[in-house]
Symmetry: C2
Subunit: 169 residues, 2 copies
């Protein structure tokens, strides 16, 4: 059993939360929604899926978790203005533990300045931002580079989740 | 009387459309909502303000307009995946005609690769993207550099609109 932090706020892409976390739970892993305020309800952008933030980012450390999942949508754009969130993301990437990013999630890694020299993919709208951050953008359904596992959008969810599950074995 | 293209799609920040365009109209300027599909209705993100797209970007040229306004919200993120939109933004910036950008609007100029060496401001979440694009980020209510007039967010709308009106004199 592994414990996976899931970084969320309002306007996350529902399927990018539901698909991987359902798969993780089915094989016994524990999901911990992490955000800005403990106990806050946040809502998905497409289907308004409600999620309760279990832990505030200020009350946790990378040591509490085995992996980090960051769903996309507009949640990463909202989260990247919070310094503690960005610090947590940077610490996680630098820890070497698996970090699963999809869609707009690379925006958080750009603000954390941890993408230089890495190979990743992400949503079409942020391709130039990824390149300008010093990363190599790869147009593929899953890109794995060290501890980073990345995908482009909801169409890649099956391959993304399969790659993530392999990292949690 | 000047003719101002306003680049929009769904999830634009309502106030960043309404405040400047109302001011432009009051003194006799003409507003032309420009987007991906002519006749399409698009809606604001906060108050669901409806706007009809008057001209598709593929049917117009920079020569048809005296200035360009790009409101923020999540509209710029949606627009920057469209090559013709990005080409239009690049042509406008390179024409030397005034370009008014606020909030997330710099995302379009990043994808158009026209920010290198420029001084601009923008929404807090995209500061690192602006810097990575080779621009100097300035934390001020209005930043003017050549033909670029930029502001951070709705709190700057009075100063942003005043600066834009001076350029339309």
């Amino acid at each position: 059993m592994k414990t996976i932090a899931v970084l969320l706020t309002n306007l996350f892409e529902d399927s990018e939360f539901i698909y991987p976390t359902d798969a993780f739970r089915r094989i016994g892993h524990r999901i911990v929604p992490v955000g800005v305020i403990q106990g806050e309800m946040v809502w998905g952008k497409t289907d308004h899926t409600p999620v309760k933030i279990e832990r505030a980012v200020t009350d946790i450390s990378v040591d509490d978790f085995d992996a980090l999942l960051i769903p996309g949508g507009y949640s990463p754009d909202k989260l990247r203005i919070h310094e503690h969130i960005v610090d947590f993301v940077r610490a996680f990437v630098e820890s070497g533990k698996p970090v699963f990013i999809i869609c707009h999630a690379p925006q958080l890694l750009i603000t954390a300045k941890v993408l230089k020299g890495r190979r990743i993919t992400g949503y079409a709208s942020i391709i130039q931002d990824i390149k300008n951050a010093g990363a190599t953008f790869v147009d593929a359904e899953v890109v794995e580079d060290g501890n980073l596992v990345s995908s482009r959008d909801p169409r890649d969810l099956a391959a993304f989740t399969e790659a993530a599950l392999r990292r949690l074995d």
